[in-house]
Subunit: 575 residues, 2 copies
């Protein structure tokens, strides 16, 4: 076994925050340009063109240099105070334009003009950003914390929770802040304490004979993966945000990813937790036991509760031996029924060796072809494509033989129309890169209505057929980007505005109705409106329409029992 052949080829690195819209870019450019103009003007005026005598007055441009970095980095707060600061310079310009003569008055006029441009750019920028945030839903609205606390250990977390309890301050636990449903950001009241686990990032222990590792909540997932790999072991949780999300957040949200088919979600990898309760008490449940039937399973109650029942401070995770080889294959299928049939064959033939099974419709891959034309394509376009990943304990050639047998038989039986098995790690990576580029290509294409849904695997074809047809009828020309983890019955079922339409306007107008239509179809097919992203703030208000009222009532009772003051991440998951 060589470490290079066992290296996991996917998923690609996390995509950054969504690319700024043209209006946002334009207003930033105008703001930066006018700010630079004011600085140059100030220096030139005082030192060269019409000096007032004291060169010291050139120092008045100093305050203008401070916001430069903030404007470039899209800091909302900077845009806001610049739009106030600018009125000082505007006033100076007006005073001089009225009092001075000649060149000085002309320069004052230029100053006034630049000030007005800067103000307008800042104001428009802020206004547009807020509007976009509202269009995206509550999760991404502006927020303001009372304080951000960064405890260094569990005792400090407990102390913070006791203090907050005494003062009735609510707490928003935060890991890598990569969640997509607004679970880890405070509201805009300025009364919530953000509890960042970022400093609690140690790997406390690795036990190779027990196949476990104990890590603190703030440990970045990739760092945990690398620590396991250094011992020849595999932490089989893998998702696009792994370079910045944290283990605590992964557990609080029960993260999924690309290997759930074989290894399960975050909850399935967790043997024990350390949790600080709403009372500020520490539950040390970090046992690395595979069997423990001594009472209620508190671990699974905290996992996936999105910080509303307690603060996870550390966890003991299951590890696996590193497979000897990981290989991928790409198959073209005529429809989703064939994809499900291929999945069944792959599960029977490869057993637990099958670690990934992703599907993509051609609309998804067409977006990738359009925006990233240079990416190598394993096969010509087909209605649907499947990416299979196999982890093998015997070696690369054994894995490839199994793949070739499986895909050869499927080709012969007409289940697939074409297939390619990766010849080497580079080809494997290229296949994964194609799959992982779909969300990036979507971002390039413009805003879209995103869904993270699951239905039983057997009902995926019927769900997609019915929902695609209904949406195409309701919104002619709409582009349906269907891709995801078929092995888990989990699709990222995204709806993009018709070609040529204004994406943002389409979202503003139709997002709610589209959500409703998709979620109703999910319910009709016995599915879930949040497969792996959670509820947070974003889906909280639609949850009661799609979840059993008995379950919601039980959840409310549990919340009341464990957090009677309602201080832990209030308003998330439950109203």
């Amino acid at each position: 076994m060589t470490s290079s052949s066992a290296a996991h080829p996917g998923p690609a690195a996390a995509p950054g925050p969504e690319a700024p819209s043209p209006v946002v870019r334009a207003t930033r450019n105008a703001a930066v340009a006018s700010l630079l103009g004011l600085i140059v003007l100030g220096l030139a005026w005082e030192l060269v063109l019409a000096p007032t005598g004291s060169g010291m007055l050139a120092l008045k441009v100093l305050p203008l240099t401070l916001p430069l970095a903030g404007l470039l980095k899209h800091r909302m707060y900077t845009y806001r105070w610049v739009s106030l600061l600018v009125w000082l310079y505007f006033t100076e310009g007006v005073v001089r334009a009225v009092g001075d003569r000649g060149l000085s008055a002309v320069l004052a006029g230029v100053e006034i003009a630049l000030c007005l441009v800067l103000f307008a750019a800042c104001a428009a920028h802020v206004r547009w950003r807020l509007r976009e945030a509202r269009a995206r839903g509550p999760a991404l609205q502006p927020h303001k914390a009372l304080a951000v606390v960064r405890p260094a250990d569990t005792a400090q977390v407990a102390e913070v929770l006791r203090l907050c309890r005494r003062h009735g301050a609510s707490i928003v636990p935060q890991g890598g802040n990569t969640g997509l449903v607004g679970g880890s950001t405070p509201d805009d009241s300025g009364t919530q304490v953000v509890l960042s686990l970022a400093r609690m990032n140690r790997v406390r222990a690795i036990d190779p004979a027990n196949l476990t590792m104990t890590v603190e909540a703030g440990c970045v997932l990739q760092a945990a993966q690398e620590a396991a790999q250094a011992q020849g072991l595999l932490l089989p949780l893998s998702l696009a945000a792994e370079g910045s999300c944290t283990v605590g957040g992964n557990l609080a949200t029960n993260a999924g990813g690309t290997q759930v088919l074989r290894y399960g979600s975050a909850r399935d990898l967790c043997l024990g937790l350390e949790v600080v309760t709403a009372d500020g008490e520490v539950w040390d449940g970090l046992a690395g036991l595979r069997k423990d039937n001594t009472g209620y399973d508190l671990r699974h109650l905290f996992i996936g509760s999105e910080g509303t029942l307690g603060v996870i401070t550390a966890a003991t995770l299951k590890l696996q031996p590193q497979p000897a080889a990981i290989t991928t294959a790409w198959a073209a299928v005529p429809d989703l029924d064939a994809a499900v049939a291929l999945l069944q064959r792959a599960q029977a033939r490869l057993g637990a060796g099958l670690t990934g099974f992703e599907v993509m419709n051609d609309a998804s891959l067409a977006l990738v072809r359009r925006h990233f034309p240079a990416l190598p394509k394993p096969l010509p376009p087909s209605p649907w494509a499947v990416l299979l990943e196999q982890s093998d304990t015997e070696g690369e050639s054994h894995a490839r033989t199994l793949f070739e047998d499986l895909l050869g038989a499927a080709l012969e039986d007409g289940v697939i129309s074409d297939a390619a098995v990766a010849e080497n790690l580079e080809q494997s990576r290229a296949m994964w890169h194609l799959r992982e580029s779909i969300p990036l290509a979507q971002a390039e294409e413009g805003p879209n209505v995103k869904h993270d849904i699951s239905v039983p695997v057997s009902r995926i074809p019927a769900f997609v057929a019915a929902t695609d047809a209904a949406l195409s009828a309701a919104y002619p020309g709409v582009c349906l980007i269907d891709f995801g983890h078929l092995g888990d019955g989990n699709l990222h079922y995204n709806v993009q505005a018709p070609a040529g339409a204004d994406g943002a306007a389409f979202l503003r107008e139709h997002e709610k109705a589209i959500n409703r239509q998709v979620y109703d179809a999910v319910r009709a097919h016995g599915g879930s409106i949040s497969a792996e992203h959670g509820i947070g703030l974003l889906k909280r208000d639609v949850l009661p329409d799609y979840k059993s009222p008995v379950a919601l009532a039980l959840m409310a009772r549990i919340k009341q029992a464990l957090d009677p003051q309602g201080l832990l991440n209030p308003g998330r998951v439950l109203r």
Copy 2:
């Protein structure tokens, strides 16, 4: 793939209830004999030897025939009322012995003697049984129900719970009643309603493309396994009681078994539940979804709660494709360190193909050799033996080759001292039979102190070394029967009285102290005092000594929130 090669070779059928002790057998025989004597005497006297004139008086023996079946079946209640009834016949005998003459007076003397024997036998029987029950702990003490209800569907279960709630009657849910900790039997107050799920035993659906099945709680595990197998699928939950335990009970207690290493405990196989709450409301959470992040995981809260939070009425379970072949191997190892080393090698080499890894010390196998000398032995005795099971998707010869490679290398490196790979299904079965005969051989040997404990796999050798040494020092000559699921860190660590000692007396005198010593060692090694059997009544009172008080307080709050009247299986798990 042939169905015969894929048939799972183990575990053996469930052992029956513990065999009655010699005293119990002797008192029963005396009671039955004297009762029969009274009947024969009565008939002979009235009809032949010294008839009083009216043959009708022979009918007086009629009441004596009624208890015969109950005495033979060890019914405690029968023994109790017979010991009262007998005084009527005693009185008759005394009256006749005083008033009559000749043969009649002699027969009256015989009647008096038989009555006294019968009374003594019944009284001794009851007294001894109660004493044995007390020695075995609270779980097995006599119990008495207010009523046994046997609902046919979920709506009837809900109706029962609403009725009980209205009348403040507490409920003991019962499946196959095979639990070992007294979780499914009522107390002796006569106020508890036993809610038997036995009639709810349907397989509601099997979805091969989704790899799931939905079964009712009262479905016997083996029936569920067979229903899956009929579709070419595997329900990978396997334990000794599978012929009589039910799926609902398996989930309520989070049952383990022999394949946890690969497939997990009962909770890991469950995707969804249908539960009736304490209020008599039905939560339909039967979705067959592999990913669902819409709120708290109620499923895992009910699983393992032993009927104290709600009544499980149905479940959706994960299935697997049937493996193409299941093979077993037997290895001799010098010590437990070597067994752990072999486990690590097997996990790396076979990956998920390794579905079982059982260890047994030679004392366990010596008991089997003594009581079942005819069973074939794969290898000569060694300090420890390991049984490995492999499930292969490719076929028998592939599996055997993998085993031979693994064991050959281990032999070469001195990890094992000898090994045998089963050549066929019969040899596989024989290996499993040997392993499963240990509890039966123990029952033959006499009463023993049983433990079902887990520690991290890496700490098993240190735990066993320390605890074996401490117990041998405290109880010279004691016999330590150590065997179990090493892959899960789960041992059945049983303590048998020294050879020649009175087992029952040893238990009465030392059981509590031995429990304490073993559980203290478990705690010192970071383990659990109940790995797979649960808490029930039997371990409820020791639990607070070994479980985090924070966890116990959280459990109590949850119990209060979901069952505020305390009607669901009261006194189990929590006080």
